[in-house]
């Protein structure tokens, strides 16, 4: 089997899957829109507040963007578990590891690419209203946050895709992850310096701060999120290889 051919096949599947394409576009629009609207309202009024992290403020929209990334990863994988799609796919590509790797590549790639555009536009759009308090892209923290934020979105998409392959249901994954991100993590997150710092979303979001609130440094935080994503994708791989399709 040609790896390039299987990658191309999975790319055709992703770009012809409406739900997946819409998830990505909605993620961009919501993230940037929320960043611009919030920072336009705040302006530079918070600039003197010692707790105000201007860098994090421009990425406020990623709270929505991460849900779009999760929806994207879930949709891309769950489309194989509707009807007999997985059986048609595996009769074309019986090498399940190759099939799975090509699928994940086509989840991570578009999520990272659109993630970069999203974080960059959020940064530019959000910081436009901050006057002198605006973070500078030439600043190491800012560049790290723009790139790291995109990596974070790609990792969350992979995390969701891996869980979907494990549970073989998009509905199950979304009904676990979205309440988790919206409720559990936000509530626990208030208690910083606890185990909550090691949750996949809290850990990875450290990269979005100039002055991270948690115990983990930004690179360590992303690494923790990567471990979660790695564990989920490995579990999904194990499930796909081991179970009858």
């Amino acid at each position: 089997m040609s790896t390039a051919a299987v990658l191309r096949s999975e790319w055709i599947k992703i770009r012809t899957l409406r739900g997946a394409v819409w998830s990505l576009l909605a993620g961009f629009v919501l993230t940037v829109g929320f960043a611009v609207a919030t920072n336009a309202a705040i302006g530079d009024s918070e600039a003197d507040n010692a707790d105000f992290d201007a860098l994090h403020s421009v990425f406020i929209g990623l709270n929505l963007g991460q849900i779009a990334a999760i929806a994207f990863g879930t949709t891309a994988m769950s489309s194989e578990y509707q009807g007999g799609a997985i059986r048609a796919s595996l009769t074309a590509v019986p090498n399940r590891s190759l099939f799975y790797a090509a699928k994940l590549t086509n989840v991570a790639g578009p999520a990272l690419a659109l993630g970069l555009v999203t974080t960059l536009v959020s940064f530019l759009g959000g910081s436009a209203f901050m006057g002198d308090a605006a973070p500078n892209l030439g600043d190491g923290n800012a560049l790290r946050a723009v790139v790291g934020g995109a990596v974070y979105l790609a990792l969350m998409a992979l995390f969701a895709a891996g869980l979907t392959a494990l549970l073989r249901s998009g509905v199950a994954v979304l009904s676990i992850l979205i309440p988790f991100i919206l409720v559990v993590s936000m509530v626990l997150g208030e208690a910083s310096g606890s185990l909550a710092d090691y949750l996949p979303d809290r850990a990875g979001q450290q990269v979005l701060y100039a002055d991270p609130p948690g115990d983990l440094s930004p690179p360590a935080g992303l690494a923790v999120t990567a471990l979660w994503a790695g564990a989920a994708t490995l579990a999904g791989w194990w499930s796909l290889r081991r179970r009858d399709a």
Binding site: M1, R8, K13, T16, Q82, A85
Partner: protein, 344 residues
Amino acid sequence: MGSIVAAARSGRLPHVGELAPAAGGSAHPSPDRTVDGMTAIDVKDLTKVYAQVRAVDRLTFSVRPGRVTGFLGPNGAGKSTTMRLVLGLDRPTSGTATIGGRPFTRLDEPLRQVGALLDAEAPHGSRTARAHLLALAASNRVPDRRVDEVLEQTGIASVASRRVKTFSLGMRQRLGIAAALLGDPQVLLLDEPSNGLDPEGIIWIRELMRGLAAENRTVLVSSHLMGETASFADHLIVLGKGRLLADTPTKDFIASRVKPRVRVRTTEPARLREVLLRHGHSPVESDEGRMLIDGVAIDTIGPLAAGEGIVLLELAAEEATLEQAYLDLTSGATEFSAPTPQEA
């Protein structure tokens, strides 16, 4: 070997839609196309146990090229499970299944060697028919031009850019058949292909399968309908409760299991009865003045009556007999059966 050549050889007219693939249909011949036996499906001692249910039970059979093999059995007999095992989608509890001597999962670019229709629900509803086929074709480096050819061949070219969720079951079935034909494969496994097709579609799929077999391809077609299958299959493999009940040419199955029976109605029942008895037949009175004669064909009774100058108002072969033979064979092996309704 092009479709038209084969069609001419098998004595049928090619459909308009079948003219298209003749131009490029043989673009990707499998290397072992002409070697007889190389592309047979071989199932040996195959067993699959799900939660203590033996869905497939020590099954052994071969499917040869050059003929249509009907794969029959009641619902739950293990036909679909066997197909999934052959395609490496499910793992057997024991035993082996190979295509051309190799397990399916070890085939390189399998769409070019084996085409399968398993499930009309396979294409995702939000994709167009063309996108579904393009993605499949890309994975096995089948040229995009084949996508348009199989869309033409299966008669869905005009709806190719519509989303699959708007398709009727029959259109989905044609799309599934298009996917199976995509790589111009030497071996085809079709699970209930006529499901959801209209009468015209059923004739089309029948001719398509006959044509594929005439091109020396290996064609395995599952069905739970005996009469329909007997109309196109050269060979029958019958399953019941996961076990092999019969593996025989269709002709032999009919000859050995179907007792012919003739139904007649005449203006002179008494005289016909006397003539029939004189010739060693045993007519039985039926409803509304009809007579049933077992173990004899219409081409015996017709001339006989004519020779005696007896007017026949009705002369027919009883059609249920093939189905009855099949039911008799599988009756002990039906997973779900309703109790016979009591006569009022």
